[in-house]
């Protein structure tokens, strides 16, 4: 092989990877949305570097779970809801969809809370910003110009990158960080358990599973080229987790050291001051707004699609309102409910953002168990069924979340006694 042709084949490979790249990277980075930034800021400012080990564990969990979902999409060409319905029937599907709907509703509320918080940092009242954003989101999606907008919003989300830069400017104690990342530490109070659950629930999300499976299925990945998808998922998850860890490190190094536990978006923005100085609040709020708007336009729609797909209701934006009343009704209801919750006078925005993620984590095991059964079913997956290692890892993650959830509800009782 001549050098030129070899270079050509390498280039072709890179090009191919870039073409196939996407779902994994987008999903993992969408993990750093408004509730994500809120959760990591809360975790870093309240517990310093103490939760870094959890991020390391969740990085592995994210790769394994997302890969499994992507593989199911590539092999079957079907969505998660579709597979659940065909394998488990109506009752299980109804339960799973209820969990998905609850989790996604919580997260959508968090996105609108992010929009409200971001807007208020610009001095814009949430009573103006939130209804406007709700209309904008509906308009974007229904007009079908989503793909262009997605690019703009993804670019806005890049401001999460500023955390990576900040993390290096701050010169944090790297040895301490490394030690905390490998040695787990525990505390036994409900606050801490909620924080642990939020961190889990914002990293591996029910909607992330559904989303990545749908986008891989829709892209129609050839199984011969599946390894590129796997690579995409792994790279995306790794990168997403690096950004998350940087958020924790930045908030720990700027806020935790001064004993400030973040309770508002204003405080969270302080973590970016070493990088942006007085502009930190704007950098932070632009990132928050971009990420929230992006997720607020993706989440309600993908939830509605999944639910309608599972129950066979007419769906899709090419349907007329009259033909698909449930589709449009559910979509509108999710957005309207989320916007209204945020508008309740005096509701604390920042805690909503991260507490919704604890709910995510509590509901996650339902979807994980179903996905695990599906991924092991050879009638569905053929030779692409799960291997033993994958089963142990996903199973372990599921049990871990279940145990922590039980601890959350049991612990207050034992303390009270």
């Amino acid at each position: 092989m001549t050098l030129k042709s070899r270079a050509g084949s390498v280039l072709r490979r890179i090009w191919f990877f870039l073409a196939i790249l996407g779902p994994g990277l987008i999903t993992a980075n969408a993990g750093n949305d408004a509730p994500g930034i809120a959760t990591y800021s809360m975790a870093g400012s309240t517990y310093g570097y103490h939760l870094l080990w959890l991020l390391a564990v969740m990085a592995v969990g994210l790769v394994i779970v997302q890969e499994m979902a992507a593989r199911m999409g590539a092999v079957t060409g079907k969505g998660t809801a579709d597979l659940i319905r065909e394998r488990f029937g109506v009752r299980v599907t109804a339960f799973a969809m209820l969990c998905l709907l609850l989790a996604n509703l919580g997260t959508t509320v968090a996105q609108f809370a992010g929009i409200a918080a971001g807007a208020e940092m610009f001095g814009l009242s949430r009573y103006v910003a939130v209804p406007l954003a709700a209309l904008l989101v509906g308009f974007i999606v229904l007009r079908g110009s989503y793909t262009h907008v997605e690019k703009v919003l993804l670019a806005l989300c890049l401001s999460a990158l500023s955390y990576v830069v900040s993390a290096f400017i701050l010169h944090p104690p790297w040895e301490e960080i490394l030690r905390q990342a490998v040695i787990p530490t525990f505390q036994s109070n409900p606050q801490y358990i909620l924080a642990v659950l939020a961190t889990i629930g914002t990293t591996v999300t029910p909607w992330g599973i559904v989303y990545i499976q749908a986008s891989v299925a829709d892209k129609g990945v050839d199984l011969k080229e599946y390894r590129y998808t796997r690579l995409d998922v792994a790279v995306g998850a790794a990168w997403g987790n690096i950004v998350s860890a940087c958020i924790v490190i930045c908030t720990a190094a700027t806020l935790y050291v001064h004993g400030i536990s973040v309770e508002t978006a204003e405080q969270a923005a302080v973590a970016l001051e070493p990088l942006a100085g007085a502009g930190a609040r704007y950098l932070f709020s632009v990132g928050l707004l971009g990420a929230s708007l992006l997720a607020a336009s993706v989440l309600p729609l993908s939830t509605t699609y999944a639910v309608c797909e599972a129950f066979g209701w007419e769906r899709g934006l090419d349907q007329r309102l009259r033909d698909a009343p449930i589709f449009y009704g559910l979509y509108t209801a999710i957005i309207a409910f989320s916007a209204l919750v945020v508008l309740i006078p005096g509701i604390p925005l920042f805690p909503i953002m991260w507490l919704s993620q604890s709910l995510n984590a509590i509901l996650l095991p339902v979807l994980l168990v179903l996905a695990l059964v599906l991924a092991n079913d050879r009638r569905v997956m053929g030779e692409w069924a799960n291997r033993r290692v994958q089963n142990w890892l996903v199973g372990g993650l599921t049990v871990m979340i279940a145990v922590i959830t039980v601890a959350l509800f049991v612990l207050p009782l034992t303390v009270a006694r």
């Binding site: 079957t76 079908g144 993706v298 934006l317 090419d318």
Partner: protein, 419 residues
């Protein structure tokens, strides 16, 4: 009327009221009948392997599953021909409603007793089926009655249903026949609703003509995906079958190597037409025109012209034939006559006297928008495309292709299915 969900999982009793196991599934056969008969019941007993009980030995299905014979006299059923296990292959799956022309999900299956045997009569795709499966049909109906409403039933008769199998959606002959009979635009819409893999498998099992017509109605991604799955020879046949304008659009979307190879495999005449079209930008008159149009030479009388058209291969290929064009030996446009005027004219009347002698024409590089505007302004159903340099007539743009820019077809509005 009873439903599969009311039978599945029920205990099965023999003629002496002894339990023999549970009903796991129901098999129907003779699928070409409008309401196929139940041929067997799948019996499961814990630990024991499942076995099939023939329909003749079943006495009742509801409220209890009761056999006609004692346990010892059950004769195992051996399946022959096409049989369909309802619970495993149809329940909860997507099927095509060929009457409503859409993809629906099976919530339940309706079974009826006809004379002495049971038949599959319909597919429940409505909310009532869902409620029944959730076990809350009765309270829901009672609640609805109290609110003075009726829960609508939506049961599709089985004769209008085409079941699909994952991986090989048209394995059942009956589905192949029912789906092939649909208009291509509806098949294309159904493809859009199916998951990618099933949709592609469905496409590749259609016959050449149906496939070509369906592809013409499908979005470019579906076209490319479907064509790249086929053997090159068959792909070339399909392209020949398509209108040259559609074929050219599709080839333009393929990688250069592939499209060159396919053009090579196509018959020379079709390949030339397509190649000529490939030279024009996609949204120009040349890009959307078709080279297949009906024409007659100058100097004919009405009756001779009609006679000429019947024998002309170009006229054969003209899909709509709103107008007949009069061309001189250099293929320059000399006049246009509408098919209506031609048919209504006295047989011996010279065609030139009927024809519009200086018709509206467009240049192949005119933009699609301008073409649409012209057609709307002059109320035309097709407009001739004429090379302004040589005066040669190249093709026609029909109204459906021209208005595509103004009124995008349904799929263009569609977002990626899920994101």
């Amino acid at each position: 009327m009873l439903y599969l969900s009311q039978v599945r999982g029920r205990k099965v009793w023999d003629a002496w009221s002894r339990p023999v196991g549970r009903c796991a599934d129901i098999l129907v056969g003779n699928l070409e009948q409008p309401f196929p008969p139940v041929v067997a019941l799948v019996l499961k007993d814990h630990g024991a392997p499942a076995h099939l009980i023939p329909a003749e030995q079943i006495s009742e299905l509801f409220p209890e599953v009761v056999l006609r014979v004692p346990r010892e006299e059950i004769t195992p059923y051996t399946p022959h021909g096409e049989v369909l296990p309802l619970g495993e292959r149809v329940l909860d799956r997507q099927v095509v409603d060929t009457e409503g022309r859409r993809v629906v999900r099976v919530n339940d299956l309706q079974i009826a007793r006809v004379n002495d045997h049971f038949c599959l009569t319909g597919v429940d795709v409505g909310g009532r089926g869902l409620l029944r499966r959730l076990g809350v049909e009765r309270p829901a109906v009672a609640l609805a009655r109290r609110l003075r409403r009726r829960l609508p039933e939506s049961v599709i008769p089985w004769e209008d249903v085409a079941p699909l199998q994952h991986g090989d959606p048209l394995r059942l002959r009956i589905s192949r026949e029912r789906i092939s009979r649909l208009p291509p635009a509806d098949i294309a819409a159904i493809l859009n609703d199916l998951d990618r893999r099933t949709g592609q498998a469905l496409l590749s099992r259609l016959d050449n003509e149906t496939l070509a017509d369906t592809l013409e109605e499908s979005p470019p991604e579906v076209q490319v995906a479907a064509l790249s799955q086929l053997a090159p020879e068959r792909a070339a046949d399909i392209l020949e079958e398509m209108g040259p304008d559609e074929a050219a659009d599709l080839l333009a979307d393929l990688p250069t190597e592939t499209s060159a190879r396919l053009l090579d495999l196509m018959e020379d005449e079709d390949a030339e037409d397509v190649q000529a079209l490939l030279g024009y930008p996609e949204d120009s008159a040349g890009g959307i025109m078709t080279t297949e149009f009906a024409w007659v030479p100058v100097g004919l009388r009405a009756a001779e012209a009609l006679d000429y058209l019947r024998r002309s291969p170009d006229a054969q290929d003209d899909e709509a034939m709103y107008y007949v064009y009069i061309l001189d030996p250099e293929r320059r446009l000399r006049g246009v006559v509408s098919l209506r005027d031609l048919v209504m004219a006295q047989p011996d009347r010279p065609l030139d006297e009927e024809a519009e002698e200086s018709p509206v024409t467009v240049d192949p590089y005119a933009s699609q928008k301008d073409v649409a505007y012209l057609m709307a302004k002059y109320d035309l159903l097709a407009v001739p495309v004429v090379d302004s340099r040589t005066g040669e007539m190249l093709g026609i743009v029909t109204v459906d292709d021209a208005v595509d820019t103004i009124l995008p077809t349904a799929w263009k509005k569609r977002l990626p299915r899920l994101y």
